[in-house]
């Protein structure tokens, strides 16, 4: 055996191991180069399938196809990783063997060095002192050259000093401020009260009551067949906010986790007049917005002051867009914290100010705020910190005893604020232990609030301070909704209970329900009143029209939207504009049908 382990066999082993190492190295390099910019989950076919799935979320076959491809892509990725790991070990093994056997071979044939005889002449120190000097000088030149190259390569875009930075900031801020003021001055005057009343400028109409001033509203339609539908337009981005209407414009917003936009539809034709893509706030772009599928990223209903439209998104971004689709200003209020469903409170305007109820967090962390912004410029008017937890109810602005009040609902308070300075006027404790969703409704100096697990309460609005013991006119515990806001007519207060029943109470006394009607459907959309007809849109798109009386509830019409619906309708003269999950519908009769 010893005779076999000769110099040549060891040398051959070293050569074979060396060649083997080189081959493995080449394979690894080729494999690595081919995978350099490869991201498994970005395979074109996979991306296409996922895009398709967004459009067809109920396509089970497609879903399975994506699952299979997802698995295959990941397996392929890890197989490649496995290949690299094994290859690396083989390479290391090969190199180590090459070195060991190479060294072994060298040792077997080790020869003593043969120093060359010293020649007469200058010694190495002498040579060093001459040549070394030149080499060091060359190094100095190289170092200076490197410094010059570094200076030439790296240029700073920052100001040269902090003073210059401060000066630039001051100039920039002044310019922005001037531009804002100039734009604000160019805005038209606020609309007249008449125009306001005949529009649908915010959630549930001009007063947030869900009551339309218009008449001649249809009671039958079929969204699938198109009967009674004036137009039907697809909504490009999802959102559970309701449409608002100003003159011939219908506004709504939509958003996903990646994009958000405000849309303006032509109220007469349904054509999209413009789409304003809203860039996410760079300050929160990387933070995760927590929301649920039911709430999404664009739950708050927009509002308009007749000059600009205002939209808010799930990441706390408030934007103002003019009627031509140009973004005029924005305020980032920060991502809502500890808000289990995502932000949903709608916007409301009052005399050119935008009111935002931004409830999130817990009562102790004081994250919740009620804020007012100048609608023209976006400058904050005031903000009031609220020691309340997250809520999903929308504020209303109303007048009581000639003075305006902002009325808000949260757990456990109903609180009224002054729109002038945000100071609290009164509060009532009646919504304890509730995840507050329904919005308050004001009628005849009384505000009606309700929530599942709490009560339906009628509260007089002329108090100050904590008026829990003095200003609650009545409370009832039947027919409590978890999402739908109440509807208050001339004589009745109606609620849609969370289990799908319409309850009717006496407006003055509350008491036991006058009647209740099993609706047989699930409801998110709040009821609306047109004339003496109550319009109800079920989650499945079914619509019921009732006429409430002191004795009974008469069903006067039924209709189908043809797709799910979780939003509230907006009303125009003779028309209903309602947002389904996929389309925006305009329900009404053509001029020929009307005549």
């Amino acid at each position: 055996m010893n005779s076999l382990i000769t110099f040549r066999s060891i040398l051959h082993t070293a050569i074979v191991a060396g060649v083997f190492s080189v081959l493995v190295l080449i394979l690894l390099l080729v494999d690595g180069a081919s995978r350099l910019n490869k991201v498994p989950m970005e395979a074109s076919q996979f991306v296409e399938l996922r895009k398709q799935f967004v459009e067809e979320p109920n396509n089970v076959e497609l879903r399975q196809q994506i699952q299979v491809m997802d698995l295959a892509l990941r397996q392929e990725y890890f197989r490649e990783q496995h290949f690299t790991v094994i290859g690396s070990y083989l390479l290391i093994g090969g190199i180590v063997l090459t070195l060991i056997f190479g060294k072994w071979a060298t040792i077997l044939r080790r020869k003593l060095p043969k120093p060359k005889p010293k020649l007469p002449g200058p010694d190495s120190d002498e040579l060093l002192s001459h040549t070394g000097l030149r080499a060091v000088v060359l190094l100095i030149v190289a170092l200076i050259g490197t410094s010059w190259a570094m200076n030439a390569t790296y240029k700073s875009s920052l100001p040269t000093s902090i003073e210059e930075l401060a000066s630039l900031n001051a100039t920039s801020n002044q310019t922005l401020e001037d531009a804002k003021i100039e734009e604000a001055l160019a805005l038209p005057d606020l609309p007249t009260p008449e125009e306001w009343q005949h529009s649908w400028p915010n959630f549930r109409g001009p007063q947030g009551t869900g009551i339309s001033m218009h008449a001649s509203i249809p009671t039958t339609w079929d969204g699938s067949s198109g009967d009674g539908i004036l137009w039907k337009a697809p909504v490009p981005l999802p959102g559970v906010n309701s449409p608002i209407v100003w003159r011939d414009h219908v506004f709504l917003s939509g958003a996903t986790d990646k994009e958000r936009a405000v849309f303006c539809f032509d109220a007469l034709t349904g054509d999209i007049q413009w789409r304003a893509d809203i860039k996410p706030d760079p300050l929160v772009v990387v933070a995760e917005v927590k929301t649920t599928d039911d709430t999404g990223y664009a739950a708050p209903t927009m509002a308009t002051d007749g000059r600009l439209v205002f939209a808010m998104f799930g990441d706390g971004l408030l934007v103002a867009v003019d009627f031509q689709g140009k973004e005029r200003w924005r305020q980032s209020l920060g991502i809502p914290q500890r808000n289990s469903y995502g932000h949903a409170s709608s916007l409301v305007t009052h005399q050119g100010a935008v009111i935002v109820q931004y409830d999130h967090g817990t009562p102790d962390d004081e994250l919740s705020k009620l804020m007012s912004f100048d609608g023209a410029t976006g400058n904050p008017n005031w903000e009031t910190v609220r020691s309340t937890p997250a809520s999903w109810s929308s504020p209303i602005v109303t007048t009581s005893n000639e003075s305006a009040q902002i009325i808000t609902c949260c757990d456990p308070w109903v609180i009224a604020y002054s729109p002038k300075d945000g100071k609290e006027i009164w509060r009532v404790n009646c919504l304890e232990r509730a995840e507050v969703g329904p919005s308050p409704v004001y009628s005849d100096d009384v505000v009606y609030v309700c929530n599942d697990t709490a009560v339906l309460a009628a509260i007089r609005c002329d108090g100050t301070g904590d008026v829990t013991d003095t200003h609650v006119v009545w409370t009832v515990e039947d027919g409590l909704p978890d999402t739908c806001s109440p509807l208050v007519s001339k004589d009745f207060v109606m609620t849609v209970a969370s289990y799908g029943a319409l309850f009717c109470f006496d407006k003055k006394d509350g008491g036991d329900p006058i009647w209740e009607e099993d609706l047989g459907a699930d409801f998110i959309s709040s009821p609306s009143l047109v004339g003496d007809h109550v319009y109800l849109f079920g989650r499945d798109g079914s619509a019921s029209i009732y006429m409430p009386t002191a004795d009974e509830c008469q069903r006067v019409g039924e209709a189908e939207l043809g797709e799910d619906c979780v939003t509230c309708p907006a009303f125009q003269d003779g028309r209903i504009i309602i947002r389904g999950v996929e389309h925006l519908f305009c329900i009404g009769k053509t001029e020929s049908e009307s005549s």
Binding site: H12, T13, Q67, L71, K118, L139, I144, N151, L158
Partner: protein, 451 residues
């Protein structure tokens, strides 16, 4: 037929260990999470760190290794023992402890601790920085010889080295001091630990790393096959410190002049060019020219220092750009002014942090001001080193016998391996002529001196 058999044997020898590696296989791959699956979210946990040992063990092992290295170098003068210790230290400090902590990197910890008193420097880092310095002051560069895992790696792969000309060796050696200065400044300003970031051997110790690190490490190793310890000689910042201290070491590896037979073997086999032969007597012209050059170097040194100070002062922007926050400020500024159309992960993360732009800019501008001063200091340091080198190589030193270079000798012990006097001392041979190359005759050094 015999050749064929040998080739087959060679293949078997290669295939056996490789097959063993392959047969072991790898653990089951992580099962991928398919889309839409209701998979449980894994609970966050702290992974077990392989090779984690109490700090005191690291220090104790280092101390023992330094003692052994010094003993093998100066007392037993055993290259074999040194090699064994080298391999052991490479396995422990390199592959098992994955190259951290090491004195080379610890230099930065110490620099940061000096600049920022609030920084709590780990005791291991201090010990790793101090102990080799102390041993070098007493015993020469025994740490480099057998304990440093970076040096060990290069020592073992130095298969067939060529001699680097002394002029090149001396000038390239200055780069280590430049690197040291930059490393200290960057560490002290919390710009980064560039020595660790660019440690060429970490990817090998940890069996993985960035492409740039792998390429750099691979290049150093490839050069190391033919140039002895390229990293230690031309880049290692800690080696630069040890080189200085080694000049003042009390004891160190030396060639005993009284027994040297002037065989030149040690000079010839030293891969680091660290053994210098006796000097010859200068001619009067040479002496005159040498004096003139020396005077010129002495006068040039202050000019060099001042020049480098000025050059360093102008490097505030590029030096500050090494700091991640300054780079971020520049990027954000470019995005704000519209010069950069796309944001980066860092700028997105900054905007997500809620920090004010003005704060970022002000911090970057303030840092740039600091780097104007620090760049000047770095320039002064480089100027001093270069100026001293000019004087050093212009100064004429007289040597009557073979001498190991105080700074350049890494105490590797290769010279012992070949030295015939050592072999006689160890009893391996009885007569010196047995190991002399053919045709070489013994010329006692005492005779050379007399002549």
């Amino acid at each position: 037929m015999n050749n064929l058999f040998r080739s087959c044997l060679a293949l078997v020898l290669v295939a056996m260990p490789i097959g063993m590696v392959s047969a072991e296989g790898v653990p089951d791959l992580m099962f991928p999470v398919p889309e839409f699956a209701n998979h449980p979210i894994p609970t966050a946990s702290v992974p077990h760190t392989e090779g984690e040992v109490p700090a005191v063990w690291d220090i104790a092992i280092l101390l023992v290794a330094l003692c052994l290295a010094s003993y093998f170098t100066l007392v037993s003068r055993s290259r074999k023992s040194q090699l064994a210790l080298t391999i052991a230290c490479l396995l422990w400090f390199g592959f098992w402890r994955q190259g951290c902590v090491c004195p080379v990197g610890a230099t930065q910890n110490v620099a940061l601790a000096i600049a920022d008193p609030s920084y709590v420097v780990p005791v291991t880092a201090v010990a790793f920085f101090i102990l080799p310095l102390i041993f070098t002051l007493f015993f020469g560069r025994t740490f480099c010889a057998s304990v440093c895992p970076l040096g060990a790696m290069q020592e073992l792969i130095a298969v067939r080295t060529v001699a680097v000309p002394r002029w090149l060796d001396h000038s390239l050696g200055l780069l280590a001091y430049v690197y040291l200065g930059a490393a200290v400044i960057f560490a002290a300003t919390k710009t980064g630990f560039i020595v660790c970031r660019w440690d060429p051997f970490i990817p090998f110790f940890r069996l993985g790393g960035n492409t740039d690190m792998l390429v750099f490490g691979g290049s150093i190793l490839a050069i190391g096959l033919v140039v002895g310890r390229p990293y230690c000689r031309y880049l290692c910042p800690y080696g630069a410190i040890l080189r200085l201290l080694s000049c003042f070491s009390k004891w160190r590896l030396s060639i005993p002049g009284d027994t040297c037979v002037n065989c030149q073997l040690c000079e010839d086999v030293c891969p680091y060019g660290a053994i210098h032969p006796p000097t010859v007597k200068q001619t009067p012209e040479s002496r005159k020219r040498g004096k003139r050059q020396f005077a010129l170097a002495v006068f040039a040194a202050p000019v060099v220092i001042a020049s480098f100070w000025w050059v360093g002062s102008t490097l505030a922007v590029p030096l500050a750009m090494w700091h991640p926050e300054s780079r971020l400020a520049e990027q954000v500024r470019l995005e704000e002014t519209g010069e950069a159309t796309e944001s980066t992960d860092a700028s997105d993360a900054f905007r997500g942090s809620g920090m004010a732009l003005e704060e970022l800019y002000a911090s970057a501008i303030s840092r740039r001001g600091e780097f104007t001063y620090l760049g000047g200091l770095l320039g002064v340091w480089i100027g001093i080193v270069v100026g001293f080198k000019l004087i050093h190589i212009s100064a004429r030193r007289q040597r009557d016998d073979y001498q190991a270079d105080r700074a350049g000798c890494v105490s590797c012990g290769r010279c012992y391996w070949y030295c015939p006097v050592e072999k006689v001392r160890l009893g391996l041979i009885t007569d010196i002529s047995e190991v002399l190359p053919d045709g070489k005759t013994l010329v006692p050094l005492s005779a050379v001196r007399k002549s």
